[in-house]
């Protein structure tokens, strides 16, 4: 959960604050847990929501028009250099806010674009575009991160 919060916020210090606030909420709202999902899933959802709220409060989440920027980036192909968890984690942290959040929620947290769109108040199409942008950027970042 701590690493999920870092990937959403891009910063470990803020992730620590989110974990504190999120777990405080968990204890306060424990009586509302309906056992429709596992307790772990429920807690993770609270942590993710707290992290997203934190991100919204601290900075305006940018989901700018990406068409122009996407054209400048190499097309993401299916071939990625081999990487381990740490390399990917570091590369994700380098992504811009919008792309990083969407990539984390879709690829790592296995959320659908529809759910992401609802959660972030964006369109499904924007979510998909941000994901595509994240992949293109990661294709550039991963080898750099692996080498360093």
């Amino acid at each position: 959960m701590y690493n999920t919060a870092i990937r959403i916020l891009g910063h470990s210090g803020e992730a620590q604050d989110v974990l504190q606030e999120g777990f405080t909420r968990v204890f306060q709202q424990l009586h509302t847990f309906r056992q429709e999902s596992g307790i772990g899933t429920w807690i993770k959802r609270i942590i993710v929501n707290t992290a997203l709220n934190q991100l919204r409060t601290k900075k305006q989440l940018q989901f700018v028009e990406l068409n122009q920027q996407l054209e400048q980036l190499p097309e993401a192909t299916d071939t990625f250099p081999d990487f381990d968890a740490e390399t990917l984690h570091v590369a994700i942290k380098k992504l811009p806010d919008g792309a990083r959040v969407v990539f984390t929620l879709f690829a790592v947290e296995q959320m659908s674009h529809q759910a992401i769109a609802l959660q972030l108040g964006i369109t499904e199409s924007t979510s998909k575009t941000q994901y595509r942008r994240a992949k293109q950027l990661l294709k550039t970042y991963l080898p750099q991160t692996a080498n360093s």
Partner: protein, 180 residues
């Protein structure tokens, strides 16, 4: 699912262990946040107190309405009225007294007053003004007609109020029996 997504899925578990949090600092923070005092207005004590105060004010207001505003108005003197109207006035005064008694008996169980109560209050005030002028007015047909007119109006309004209170009471009883 493309190659990247497959790879991430394979790394899922280790992705959660890349950075380790300072557990002690996090727990200390959770404890501090949990112990943080809620603002005074979020404490149940204040809401309960506010509720009691509101209820108390409502009861006092209701009592004030029923005790001060709806005291049976003093009857106008009839001794000076010429004979044919005097009997009518006595009949009206009796009827008004009966209606007021009935209304107050109903109000004891149902303090919510219908809108017509305002009209009654206004009429009582006009009647008091008329009573103040009554001695100076000539005791003729015109004055007698005005005199009786107040009572006729009052009888009509009291009738309406009683009906409204009874109707409301019946509805409440019906609702209560349905709830049971």
């Amino acid at each position: 699912m493309d190659a990247l997504e497959k790879r991430i899925k394979a790394l899922q578990e280790s992705m959660d262990e890349v950075e380790m949090p300072d557990s002690q600092a996090i727990w200390a923070g959770i404890v501090t946040l949990s112990e943080k005092k809620a603002p005074w207005w979020r404490k149940p004590f204040w809401w309960i107190s506010f509720g009691i105060l509101l209820l108390g004010s409502g009861i006092s207001l209701g009592y004030w309405w029923s005790e001060s505003k709806h005291q049976p108005a003093e009857h106008m003197p009839i001794a000076d009225l010429p004979e044919p109207w005097r009997n009518k006035a006595i009949e009206y005064q009796k009827l008004v007294s009966e209606q007021e008694t009935q209304m107050h008996a109903l109000l004891a169980a149902n303090t919510q007053l219908p809108l017509e109560a305002k009209e009654l209050e206004e009429l009582d005030r006009l009647q008091q003004d008329f009573m103040a002028d009554f001695q100076a007015l000539p005791k003729d047909e015109k004055t007698a007609a005005r005199y009786l007119h107040y009572y006729e109006q009052k009888i009509r309004i009291l009738e309406l109020i009683i009906k409204q209170i009874q109707l409301r009471r019946n509805e409440t009883e019906k609702r209560q029996s349905l709830d049971i």
